[in-house]
Each structure stands twice: as structure tokens, then as C-alpha cells.
Amino acid sequence: MSVAIRIRHAFPGFSLDVDFEVGAGITALFGPSGAGKSTIANAVAGLFKPDRGRIEVNGRTVFDTAANVFVPGRRRRTGYVFQDARLFPHMSVETNLRFGWRRHEPRAGEAEIAHIVELLGLGALMARKPAKLSGGEKNRVALARALLSSPEILILDEPLAALDSARKREILPYLERLRDEARIPMLYVSHAVEEVARLADRLIVLKNGRVAAQGAVFDLMSALEFSEITGSAPYGSVIGTTVAAHNDEDGLTMLGFDGGALAVTRLPQALGARLRVRIQAEDVMLAREEPTAISANNVLVTRIAAIRLDRESHADIQLDCGGTKLLARITQASLKRLALAPGAEVFAIVKSVTVDQPSASRD
């Protein structure tokens, strides 16, 4: 299951030249507006014909200028979720859901329809017209409609951009469940670093129509170059963990990862469950000596891997914790005072850990 994308196109004043692959799980196409994200998404879906290139979906060539191949959008089996949902206003939710389903063989069975309706919480909405839905509900219907067309690739173009933060929180758990359940490649177009950190398995960072960086989200987010490429403050690190132990006495759960463990407030997940945690760079303090009398639960022994100074007063520090990379953002004054240098052993005091729980946070 993979999609190979190679596109070249010249627009007036802007050119696109990219070459990358999308595998199973969520690949985020990340970058500022105007970087060419939606153009790539449209080219994959067959809604846009680039000057040159080749696109292959699961071994099937759907676009190849060298061989003069252009499979029209309707035969590409792309599940496309648009930012503005694009539900058909004259049809009920159910008719919308079955629009793509009806036009694709082999069709999903009724049991699978019921499953997707349940997965996205649409049972009570089936008879409604799109005008009677909230923004979040519209997006869920659009997602279900795309899934029911038995797609070979799912494209999500800024599916959360038009929503307020409450609606975003409503949709995100569904997307996480989908990522963990669906086996098809998903291309997630976004300019929001937090969404990407929460959802993506892999990242393709686009800048001015070129791939500026790509890699696993765990590696790329903790790379110091990431903020350089994106031109923003570093977000922090994303770490894959498993539930290692529950301590009911203290109301804590231990999450294990390569090189250490994090204590968080008691979680409902069973032992061994895989969870993604995010630690923002600003939430990590550094100490040269082991802090003893301290309220923070999480103090990790780490080694400084790299340091990067920004033009203002910040120093971004990449820490190595038994193979797992962490990011800390301190001031350059602190850096000087502590005399930190690559290779030095430091204690990382983690003030806050965000745990993403796909199924538990579903209400």
C-alpha cells in the first residue's frame, strides 16, 4: 500500500517540483499556505493535471506524462475530504454517504457502512440535510462519505482549518481512530503544527514548492532543523510510548519509551496500549545536578545532542534520552550560566505531558 508522487509544474511566479512517497498510516503534507500542498493533493486526486510527472497508487499508474497516462478523477478511487466538506446540499446525509459508495465496485457491505456510521457518530444525523449540520458534523459526514467510496488513498485537505478549537477537539479523536484502524495511505494536508504532531506518522515539509524535509514524525519534530525549515519556534517532541504500569495508589500511569518512562495522571488504557505523547519544548527545564526536592514527577537523565541558538534570546536544545530525542527551549543566558555543551549530561525536568488518547477521549 503506497503512493508514489512525482510532480513538476510551473505556475506564473511559482513552481512546484516534488518527489515523495506516501505509505500506510498518515503522512502529513506540512507547510505554509502557498507552499503547493493543495495543488499536490488535487494532482493525486486527478482534479489537476501537472505539466510533468508520474503518480502511482498501489502499483497502478494514474498519471504519467512520459507515457501519456491521465486517469480521470472519477476512476482514481481517491477519498478526498475537502476543507469545506463539500456535502451535496440537496441530499440527505445518508444519500451523501452513499453517493460514492453507489458508484464504486466492489461496494462496502451494509455491516461496514454501519461500522463507519458508528465510528464517526453519524447515526442520529442520517435523515438530515447538510444545512442542518454543525461544522464538525459536516466534516464527519464528509469523512464517512470518502471512506465509503472504498478509496485506495484518503486525502484530507485541512479538514480542521475551518473549525473552532472546540470542534477540532471533537474531530481529532475520530481521525486518530481512523489512523489506527484504516489500512489505506492517508495524505493529511495541514499548516497547523499541533495537528500534525498529534496525527501524523510521517511528515513531508513543503517550502516554496519543494520538499524541504521528510521523515518520521518522532524524528523530524525533535530535529533542531525543523524550526529552521518551518521558520517558527520549535513545537517540541512527539514520542511513541506504551502503557507500562498503573499505580492506583498515587493515581498515576507509567508510560514507557525507548530510554525511560513518564508518569502521567491515571489513564484508562490497558497495559501495553500504545499512546503518543507530546512534550512542548517550553515545558522542559534543564538542571546540571539531580534536582531532589522538586514537585515535577518527571525528571529524565539525558545527554545534550545538539544546541541551536536563535536570533533572539532563545537556545533550543536537543536531548538524547536513551535513543529518544527530546527538545528543550531555554534562554541563552541560562545556557551560559549552566555552561551547557554537546555531550554534557543534564537532567530534563518535564513540566507537562500531553497524552493523545484516540478512543478514550471520545465522548
Binding site: L47, P72, Y80, R86, F88, P89, H104, S149
Partner: protein, 230 residues
């Protein structure tokens, strides 16, 4: 209908028949024309656009005269139609319908084109990714969503057609029971001595019809928009 003289009832029914025929025959053609004009650019498009809109700016009498020249029983096309197919437009109610249809054609095309253009192209893209081909998208998406405009265009054209005078009297003359529609009947009543009362009654009917048309258009538009979920 006891309020009306038989001849007046005849004129009213004839008017309705002529307008209904004119609008319903022109409608599919107007939809096709609107589609061609709204999505495509082709060589000679400004000329086609001009031709479609010609009846709006040309005096109806000129339109009627042109029809007579082309479709009169002794004219080349009209003569051929009569000899080979037995179709006669001149001095017949079908000719009145043809003249009305041509005159009101621009109204329909304009309304339908506006409605088609107002349908979000993004919906069509969404339908394409869901496996719908061009015709599928047109009949299941674009046309239903443009329906309020299509209906509004048809009703406007119907109302305008009821008032057509110049082209009809020029092309098919003023024959009672055959081509004497409401406006022609009003004109004839005013020409006859003591016909003022008849003319007034016919005018009242024309006003009622116009009001009914406008109300119907509004009602249909609201109903349709509700059905289309707007």
C-alpha cells in the same frame, strides 16, 4: 368564466396554450445553450451570445417580419416544411408559439446560466472524486442545484410570452380563435366601436395573470430552495 364573452375566454385560453408551448419547447434548448455558454469557451462565442440576446434588443415587429420571410408559406424554409412535412407556422397558433419562444428565449438562457454559474464548482469536484462522470454530475448535482433558477427563468419567460404582441401580429396575423392572443384581443377590442368594456375586462385578466405568475415564481423558488437545503 361567465364574466367573459366566449371570444374573450377563447383569447385567454389561446394565450395560455401559446405561452405554455413556447416555454416548454424552448426550455431544453435554453438549458443546453446555457450549459454551453457557462462552461465553455469556443471560437465565435461572442457571436452566439449576441444572436441569443438579439430578440431582447430587436423590435418584435422586426422579429415577426424575419420569421415571415423565412417561414411564410411561400418562403424557402416555410414552403419546404409545408410541402414535405405538412408543418405550417404562418397564420397558425404554432407560429405564435414559435415567435413567443424566440422572443423569450434570452430570458430563459440568462436565468439558467446565472443559476448554473452559482452552483459551487467544488461540489462537482467532490462528486468526481466519488466516481461521478460529467453527465452524472450534471444531472445529479448541477441541474438539481440550479433548478430554482431554471424554474424562475421558465416562469418569467411564460409571463413575458403572455404579453407578446408585435412579433405575433406581424408573423401570424390576428385571427380570432387561432392567433388572437390576449394582447391582440385587447388591441382589437379597442379598435372596435364600444369595445372599451371588453378591453378593460381583458386588461384585468392580464393583470391577474401577471400577478399570479410573479407570486408563483416566488413560491416555487422558496419551496425549491427549502428542498435543496438552503
Amino acid at each position: 368564466m361567465s364574466l367573459l364573452e366566449p371570444a374573450e375566454t377563447e383569447a385567454l385560453l389561446l394565450s395560455l396554450k401559446v405561452s405554455a408551448t413556447a416555454v416548454s419547447c424552448a426550455l431544453p434548448l435554453a438549458v443546453a445553450t446555457a450549459v454551453a455558454m457557462s462552461r465553455r469557451t469556443f471560437p465565435g462565442r461572442p457571436l452566439v451570445d449576441g444572436l441569443i440576446h438579439l430578440p431582447l434588443v430587436l423590435p418584435p415587429v422586426v422579429m415577426g417580419y424575419l420569421l415571415l420571410v423565412v417561414l411564410g408559406t411561400r418562403a424557402p424554409v416555410g414552403g419546404w416544411l409545408l410541402a414535405h412535412l405538412g408543418i405550417r407556422f404562418a397564420f397558425s397558433w404554432t407560429g405564435a408559439a414559435l415567435a413567443s419562444g424566440i422572443i423569450t428565449f434570452p430570458f430563459q438562457v440568462r436565468a439558467i446560466r446565472l443559476a448554473l454559474d452559482s452552483v459551487d464548482a467544488g461540489l462537482s469536484q467532490a462528486a468526481e472524486t466519488l466516481g461521478a462522470g460529467p453527465l452524472d454530475r450534471f444531472f445529479n448535482l448541477t441541474l438539481p442545484l440550479a433548478l430554482p433558477g431554471v424554474v424562475a427563468g421558465a416562469i418569467t419567460a411564460f409571463a413575458a410570452s403572455l404579453g407578446e404582441f408585435g412579433a405575433i401580429i406581424t408573423f401570424v396575423s390576428n385571427i380570432p380563435g387561432e392567433t388572437r392572443t390576449l394582447p391582440l384581443a385587447i388591441y382589437s377590442a379597442l379598435q372596435a366601436p364600444g369595445g372599451e368594456a371588453a378591453a378593460a375586462r381583458l386588461c384585468a385578466i392580464a393583470i391577474v395573470l401577471a400577478l399570479a405568475g410573479v407570486t408563483l415564481a416566488e413560491l416555487a423558488d422558496r419551496r425549491l430552495r427549502a428542498a435543496l437545503g438552503r
